[in-house]
Amino acid sequence: MTDRHDPAAASPDHDDDAPMTPAEMLALSRRQEDRVEDFFQMPTTIIVLTWGVAWTVGFLALWSASDASPIAVPAGPAGAVFVILMVAGIIISGVVGMRTGAGVKGPQQVQARIYGITWALGCLAVPMLAGALFRAGMSAEVAALYFPAGYCIVVGILYLFGAALFSDRSMIVVGGWILSIGIVAPYFGTPGNYLVMALAGGGAFLVYGIVLLVARARRSAGARNRG
């Protein structure tokens, strides 16, 4: 991820033993701190945008297959699109998360690893519980309410857990919002809950991803002005 190239930070190999003026040295240190922050922030942005697309398109596909939709999409392909997007989301999040964490060891990284494993376990808990509920007689209609709500509650709580772990206020907003959708969406019944999940759930991730991208652009613009 060496996509950002400002001359002073990116090509330090010539004359890098020489000090610069105090103002330039302070700017150099801040640019480097931004670069480190950016390196660890970018994967979060990628993961958030991935889920934004997966939820928006996936739940819209499920909704399109219902009678409420103006366009009639067959249920088989719609379900397949949904499952493929969810699996792709899990794979992308896992790979990006692991690649970012590689090469750094320490207490913060241990916290991050536990947090990552909690995500995997939380997302696994939803279908595992569904298995037991199916055995107890859960119908397809009830399952259609259970799955989106279950994932929303897990993801919402994980975001709030992340907010506490990383002292990140933006995660409180996202976590609270996703948790609320998980609680509210089932009351719309099927297929209305799919639409709520696609627009309010996936939409929220997309907005959050764009907010992260804008913040990043502002940071690098600020770094250029300082340098």
Binding site: A8, P12, M25, S29, V104
Partner: protein
């Protein structure tokens, strides 16, 4: 006015110290990851890491990850203090608070 620590007051070493400080207390970072975060050549990074290690600011640990040798660098407690002192002195020179 405080003298600026000559060990840190060089572009490459300030960037290394800033990176290690930004990674958090007690974080150890592998040589290739540090190289990537700094965009430095291996030779250049080694040279400057050695100077920081000689000053006691950085600890370099050689371990094995599944039999492949791996080198990790971390900021030492005196290194963290020296970096904070350097940044304070720098801000004082510029008339900045905090």
């Amino acid at each position: 006015m405080a003298e600026l620590d000559p060990v840190i007051h060089a572009q490459a070493r300030l960037r290394i110290m800033s990176t290690l400080a930004a990674l958090g207390a007690e974080a150890q970072v592998s040589f290739p990851r540090l190289q990537q975060l700094l965009d430095m050549t291996a030779g250049n990074l080694s040279t400057h890491l050695r100077k920081l290690e000689d000053a006691g600011y950085v600890t370099v640990t050689k371990t094995h990850n599944d039999r492949t040798p791996a080198t990790y660098a971390a900021l030492s407690a005196p290194g963290r203090r020296a970096f904070e002192d350097y940044m304070t002195a720098l801000r004082a020179l510029l008339g900045e608070g905090s």
